[in-house]
Amino acid sequence: MNSIRILCRDISKTFSGKSVFKNVNFELSDFQSLCITGRNGSGKSTLIKIISGLIHPSKGKIVYEIEGNELPKESWFEKTGLISPYINLYEELSGYENLDFFYRLRSRDDGKDKINGLLEAVGLKGKGNELLKNYSSGMKQRLKLAFSVLHDPDILVMDEPRMNLDSAGIEIMNEIALRQKERGMLIIATNDEEDQRLCEKFLNIQDFVN
């Protein structure tokens, strides 16, 4: 695996002229983990979206560095996995079909073993052929966990990852997070104390709110 670094320099975000946060700075390297905390509405998810490349910051710059070279923004998705409440998968496809679709977009091989292995790992063995619209919210969250690590990302970004999960699901989520720390970078946006224990670095977004 190539060495990867995220550099976040003076990031600010405004929506319709209203400032969400100002001048956020942090730096993260391989095998490091960051926990973003802050009260509801303070901008944790907005920062997560900026880090994963879904939206642009209003000011400042965020850089992905691979072996010291800047990665073009449109290629960030190849390195990033994201689980968040605002990501939906396709309701009209089955759990397996969803993972198969996203796997094929990233890889040439059929990924059957990988997908079945992941479905088993997140506790959805035997449920893969059911349409997503028939899944419970906890099962959907488990599938989103599988989606986030489908391509073995260098950077795993988790926004409120334990949402809708039961205790077994939370255990699976913890396992995935711990495995990620051994192989790459982990960023979690949460106020949950147990999740915070998974991380070494902390960023309270409220320190950057006006």
């Binding site: 879904l54 923004k73 449109e74 996995g81 994201l82 990501i87 396709y90 309701e91 679709f101 990233r106």
Partner: protein
């Protein structure tokens, strides 16, 4: 390039599968076409309508069914909040490529249906079928290319339904004027060599709109 096309096809296949399972667009469009052509038939009654007027009516049916169906491609992703998952899994060019192929397939299937109904119910007489088909293909390609990028633009807006006709009309006007004129001529039996001017305009329009769509989509797709 080869990999990008392969991934565009994967997105196309996903959209086809989704469409056949949900009938999100298909049922509405088929009903729209049936109702439109039935209304024209009832309005015309037993009178024999000139083929020139029928050509105009044909393109009205094609244009409005396109505005109802093709504009849904990106709107559906946005409404179902699946856009982020797609953004996190593919390059913008692959997404627009997949959506373009899906809209082409949908549009061509729909236009075959419209044509069958026009010929069967309205006694539409096409004298130069080869030229007619060529013009329909070129016209449709332009219509689909423009509609797909407009669909991507309006999917971000709040008033999606009203925005499509407002944005599409000025962009599609040169195409519609040319294609209606060329279809009329082909229908009346004019040979292909006399349609080269119109065909050049249509090919240029198709190339320019498709190229611009591929280049600009990245900025529309990224928030």
């Amino acid at each position: 390039m080869k990999g990008a096309f392969r991934r565009a096809l994967i997105i196309f296949r996903k959209d086809i599968k989704s469409e056949f399972r949900t009938r999100y667009v298909l049922n509405a469009l088929l009903m729209f076409v049936l109702v439109t052509i039935s209304i024209i038939r009832f309005a015309v009654g037993d009178e024999k309508i000139d083929d020139e007027i029928l050509t105009g009516l044909l393109w009205i049916a094609v244009f409005f069914s396109a505005s109802g169906g093709l504009s849904r491609t990106f709107v559906k992703e946005e409404e179902k909040e699946t856009t982020s998952a797609l953004k996190l899994s593919s390059y913008p060019a692959e997404v627009i490529g997949g959506k373009l192929i899906f809209n082409l397939a949908l549009s061509f299937a729909l236009n075959i249906f419209i044509l069958i109904l026009f010929v069967g119910i309205m006694d539409y007489d096409i004298k130069n079928a080869g030229a007619f088909l060529l013009i329909m293909i070129l016209g449709n390609f332009g219509l689909v290319s423009a509609s797909t990028i407009i669909s991507a633009i309006i999917s971000k807006a709040n008033s999606k339904g009203t925005l499509y006709p407002v944005l599409s009309f000025p962009i599609l006007l040169p195409l519609l004027i040319t294609v209606i004129n060329a279809t009329k001529l082909a229908c009346s039996g004019v040979e292909l060599k006399y349609l080269t001017g119109d065909m050049q305009i249509l090919i240029s329009y198709d190339v320019v709109v498709t190229a611009v769509s591929l280049m600009l989509f990245k900025f529309v797709w990224e928030d």
